[in-house]
Symmetry: C2
Subunit: 236 residues, 2 copies
């Protein structure tokens, strides 16, 4: 999302903090201190504070005046909302595919898939390729910018997915599903593409309840509950 133009400390810090939250480097429930963050990053409170406000609007951080700021616990409700949103948008996008696909984007997607199939694929690498793949599909139908909105809304979903793949399987099954979707699209079979896409998106989603049972402390129960400051949630 285009916010402030030009390079500012705020933009750098915002992107850095956002990445740390999404990659779980900053665990759900962890306490954030504007002063601490500012000191550790070598800047004043101002850019840090403004970044936290932006992250709060995205729902990734909760700010309680005079109490503290915390990384939001993964909210199952928000995960479900993001799932519904992305499914609606990505499926509708398939209906807007042009008769002649942009060869540049098709080539880009093919190269992306090739990299996904590498045996030594790391998890972070996979997430980056996955993001680019789905965004590329949206661009194929001329709705690339809408992906920005979806991406901003699916922070809780992404964190839930990371929790799942962290302790679990290889992303091989997802890579195969990506391939199916791609083949259906390039083959001009939109109904098949829709089916494959829906199956793919739900496969990710259906794993979340299992994760929640395994690590309940990372999930929110009461949306308005305030995490305790000293009780920093450690990684395990």
């Amino acid at each position: 999302m285009a916010q402030t133009n030009g390079r500012t400390n705020r933009r750098d810090i915002y992107l850095k903090l956002r990445q740390m939250v999404l990659t779980l480097e900053l665990a759900p429930g962890a306490a954030l201190s504007e002063n601490e963050l500012a000191a550790s990053m070598g800047v004043s409170r101002t850019p840090v504070r403004e970044s936290l406000i932006l992250l709060a609007q995205e729902g990734l951080v909760q700010v309680f005046p005079k109490i503290g700021s915390f990384v939001s616990r993964v909210d199952p409700g928000q995960v479900a909302d993001a799932q519904f949103l992305r499914e609606a948008v990505e499926l509708a996008s398939l209906d807007d595919l042009p008769a002649a696909l942009d060869p540049a984007i098709v080539g880009e997607l093919r190269a992306n898939l090739d990299r996904q199939r590498r045996a030594d694929l790391g998890l972070e690498e996979f997430f980056g390729l996955d993001e680019a793949f789905h965004q590329g599909l949206m661009r194929l139908s001329g709705h690339g910018n809408v992906w920005t909105t979806v991406a901003a809304a699916k922070g809780h979903l992404d964190r839930a997915r990371r929790l799942g793949l962290h302790e679990n399987v290889s992303p091989a099954v997802f890579v195969a599903q990506h391939r199916e979707i791609f083949d259906a699209i390039t083959g001009g079979n939109v109904p098949l593409a829709r089916t494959a896409m829906r199956t793919h998106l739900r496969a990710v989603f259906d794993d979340i309840e299992r994760i929640r049972a395994h690590s309940p402390e990372l999930f929110a129960t009461d949306a308005s509950s305030v995490p305790v400051r000293r009780n920093i949630v450690v990684w395990e």
Copy 2:
């Protein structure tokens, strides 16, 4: 969207500025000054500035460091994106309607429709009822919270709609379409509801090109062009 809890100056100012932008009280292209706004509102730059940053992330304001802040011109690209997004979400939501509709929400929608049909309906009143109506439909299928995301993304679309109805017709035709959608849903006819909804949403959208031809200065041409500070766009 849950951002900062509790009452703060920032929240008040943010909501107020947002409303002024969406209602075109602050015209597209108008220059905003943190100092002026702060003085006129009787607060310091801080809460005003933080509000502008939030509005910038929503795309309603553009901030150019060391140059100035401006109300975003209506971007036809963002209007189209919002149209696609809301259509995808609201149509998908119809597929998730439960067999037994929540009678409380149904009653609320019925009362909303009754108020829409009042002869002396003002424009601002209509927009408020329209917003509540569409959100109510989403709640009917359990996706009420997703409306928040859609609402945040459709600022440019809303401003374009306001421009259209400002110089034009009564909202009577839209009210009738709302009725059609409602009847199809309560009648259990989902396919008809989908058709009615799509027709309704596109009727709004198709009017925009006409508006753009009439008031081109309120629309963005080059997304990165900087409005001139002194050249405040007057309502005319």
